[in-house]
């Protein structure tokens, strides 16, 4: 071996593929079943904090109260756009081709918001405070894309 030899750089392209299965738990399961079967959206109310959380959960993070199925309450379906972004670049990990809109949407009756797509809207007219309604998927499988997207209420 010649110690003066320049070995240059050595890089290798690889990938790791990992499969997993997320279990929604009791409160999460109830949310997905109601969404899939009835096109209803539920949150969980903490009586002590007087807050309604989405997604529904078994412990109130703020006061550590136990929340159960009795605390579930219907929220929405209408909501208000709190903030948004227009995604203009493409990434393999993106669920859609750019351009598309991600909105942070607070459903009526909820104190926390969800992220979802906002479609059917003129990008120029996007603004916090815009009223939105969910459009449910025709084929629903019990996941968050059972809401296909949100769209502005005013166009209807």
């Amino acid at each position: 071996m010649n110690p003066e030899h320049d070995y240059g750089t050595f890089e290798s392209d690889q990938r790791i593929v990992a499969h997993s299965r997320y279990f929604a738990g009791l409160m999460g399961s109830y949310f997905f079943v109601r969404l899939r079967d009835e096109q209803k959206i539920v949150g969980a109310r903490c009586e002590k904090c007087n807050k309604v959380f989405w997604p529904p959960r078994s412990t109130c993070g703020r006061c550590f109260s136990v929340l159960s199925l009795e605390n579930l309450t219907e929220i929405g379906p209408l909501g208000t756009l709190e903030t948004f972004t227009i995604v203009k670049y493409r990434e393999p990990v993106h669920p859609r081709k750019a351009p598309f809109v991600y909105g942070i949407i607070k459903l009526d009756g909820a104190d926390t918001s969800m992220v979802h797509f906002v479609d059917g809207v003129d990008f120029q007219k996007l603004a916090p405070g815009m009223r939105l309604r969910p459009v449910f998927a025709n084929k629903r499988n019990g996941n968050i894309l059972d809401i296909d997207h949100f769209e502005p209420l005013d166009s209807y």
């Binding site: 750089t9 690889q14 990992a18 997993s20 079943v33």
Partner: protein, 160 residues
């Protein structure tokens, strides 16, 4: 009285995370892998303090915390120090292809090295045919099939 809420269908959602990455071997591993790929040679690196010949070569001796710089060409024979016969179909995570069980797998210390290499053993996967202390010899893939990976070793053959 039982309500509908007592019998909630339990929901689970399958997910796949597929992460591409580009790994940079670094100076020491680059030299080691290039020599293996291009010339079929194994180089270890010797620590100037404890004299351990480490494989694969690395910049620092973890025990002495000094810089390693003494490259040592190793032979292609060694001694078996541990083995197993694998009955599980293990998948090569980099290709997704399974290694068909049962197969013999072992740990070999190349002559002149203080480290071991784990690899397939080209012996019948029967306990009686494998013995700790037996002499083994590296079988490399053909030059054109070598890419600079431990997988450039095909397996270890018993020295007869």
């Amino acid at each position: 009285m039982k309500s509908a809420k007592d019998n909630v269908e339990l929901i689970s959602i399958p997910m796949v995370v597929d992460v591409p990455y580009r790994f940079a071997a670094g100076k020491y591993m680059t030299r080691f892998l290039t020599e293996l790929r291009d010339n079929g040679k194994f180089y270890g690196i010797r620590c100037p303090l404890c004299n351990r010949v480490q494989l694969p070569p690395r910049i620092v001796c973890a025990v002495c915390h000094v810089k390693n710089s003494d490259w040592i060409e190793l032979g292609n024979e060694g001694t078996l120090v541990g083995f197993t016969i694998m009955y599980l179909p293990l998948t090569d995570p980099t290709t997704g292809k399974p290694h068909e069980p049962p197969f013999a797998y072992g740990s070999v210390r190349l002559d002149g090295s203080d480290s071991v290499i784990d690899h397939f053993l080209n012996v019948e996967p029967v306990v009686e045919h494998i013995r700790i202390g037996m002499r083994m010899k590296v079988a490399l893939k053909e030059r054109e099939d070598r890419v600079g990976d431990l997988g450039d070793i095909l397996h270890f053959d018993p020295v007869t």
